[in-house]
């Protein structure tokens, strides 16, 4: 035993290397998946405050572009509001109101890695919880994976483990959206049934199946679609709705029915697992 310790001590450089390397690789593999990110994300008020104060210094640089985006969004929303005369119509169907939108400001964001995250200035104190969806004025953005008191970390759509349940707007077919591209402008639609042919400009929207996003939120529009008749499922390139490089204001989506639907699903699936 004593000899063993002596041996380890003599080779302490190598032993320490192995120890530290194993620890880091363990941390890396644990935090790699979507669920790993939920457990291991490092969201802290310290880093949040540093990002926030830096953002306060530099944030105004993008304000002009941001304002134009917000005005466009306002115009779009005004077009969606029904004129008051129609509200008295008995045929009017009430919209799904189980979603609540919490505005937040992006204080840190990357687009140049294989796995991108962003930090926003709303946290636990504002009612943010893990697995809430995040959208910008022009499309889906990501999912909350870490929350501290005043800040939240969001797994961006530009993450190799991100996958959104989506729908082709014109045909209602269910597909999935992943990043799978080399720049932040584009994403990939996968699992498209082979009989569907998409044209450039077709919209891809959220399906609402995941309970994270409401339905009908734009994800992106088709850029190109190559149908391969030999395969059952094809994939297409989309131009993402959100401009990830200039994100400033986002909305975090609180699904007030989440608990209820989640427990319902749990009860009904319990017997089958």
């Amino acid at each position: 035993m004593r000899n063993l310790f002596a041996l380890l001590w003599r080779n302490q450089f190598f032993v320490l290397f192995i120890l530290l390397e194993t620890t880091s690789i363990f941390l890396l593999t644990q935090s790699y998946s979507y669920h790993g990110s939920l457990a291991y994300s490092t969201t802290g008020d310290i880093s949040g405050n540093i990002f926030n104060s830096y953002n306060n210094l530099t944030g105004y640089l993008s304000l002009a572009k941001e304002n134009t985006g917000l005005i466009k969004e306002n115009a779009r929303l005004r077009n969606m509001v029904r004129p008051s005369s129609l509200l008295k119509d008995t045929g009017y169907i009430k919209n799904d109101t189980s979603y609540k939108y919490i505005p937040a400001r992006v204080v840190q964001n990357t687009v140049n890695k294989s796995n991108n995250f962003m930090v926003v200035n709303k946290g636990n104190n504002d009612g943010i919880l893990k697995e809430m969806g995040v959208i910008s004025q022009s499309g889906a953005v990501g999912v909350v994976v870490g929350v501290s008191n005043n800040y939240a970390t969001i797994m961006s759509l530009l993450h190799s483990k991100m996958r959104l349940s989506a729908r082709i707007k014109k045909s209602g077919q269910l597909v999935n959206v992943v990043w799978g591209q080399k720049t932040y402008l584009f994403g990939t639609v996968i699992d498209i049934p082979s009989h569907i042919s998409l044209e450039a400009g077709d919209s891809i929207i959220t399906s609402g199946n995941s309970m994270i996003f409401p339905e009908n939120i734009l994800i992106g529009v088709i850029e190109s679609h190559e149908t391969d008749l030999n395969k059952n499922l094809s994939s297409a390139k989309i131009r993402l709705g959100s401009d990830f490089n200039s994100l400033y204001h986002v909305y975090i989506i609180d699904n007030t029915m989440y608990q209820e639907r989640d427990s319902l699903i749990r009860i009904t699936t319990q017997g089958y697992e």
Partner: protein, 171 residues
Amino acid sequence: MNNVIVLNIVRFLSLGLAQVLIFNNMNFGSYINPSVYILFILLLPARINGSLLLVLSFITGLYIDYFANSMGLHASVCVVVGFIRPSIINLFFRNQEFASNEGVTPFSVGWQGFIKYSLVLVLAHQVLMFYLEVMSFNNFFFTLSKSLLSSAVTLLIIVIVMLIFGKRRRF
């Protein structure tokens, strides 16, 4: 002695902050992600105790990981850089006499030596990091070209930082 510790703490904090606030947000065509913070490991005293070097490298990596939300990625790569650093120093500067606590800087080993030494460690760091980040050999050449481009930019920024801060304050 104390001077060296203070100097290194200042380097550690400032390079780390510069990394997470500035260099992590740089994107030239969204491919390049320079890791200038490893300058901290490069500049440590040449004859530093091996175990201390590994522990410092590990902490440096965790520091960046904490801000970049990439638990373990930078830590594992930095530990490798710390592990090969003594061998690289022996390889390039075998005949060089380093005073106690003297760092590997352009002024102790010359610009040529410093660039050669930095190039090897930066390359090792970037290639490892980009492959670990995607954790696959799909798009092998795309990842390789990203890491080579990123290494070149990292080295360029390191040289600029040394030109600006190097001589005057003995950064």
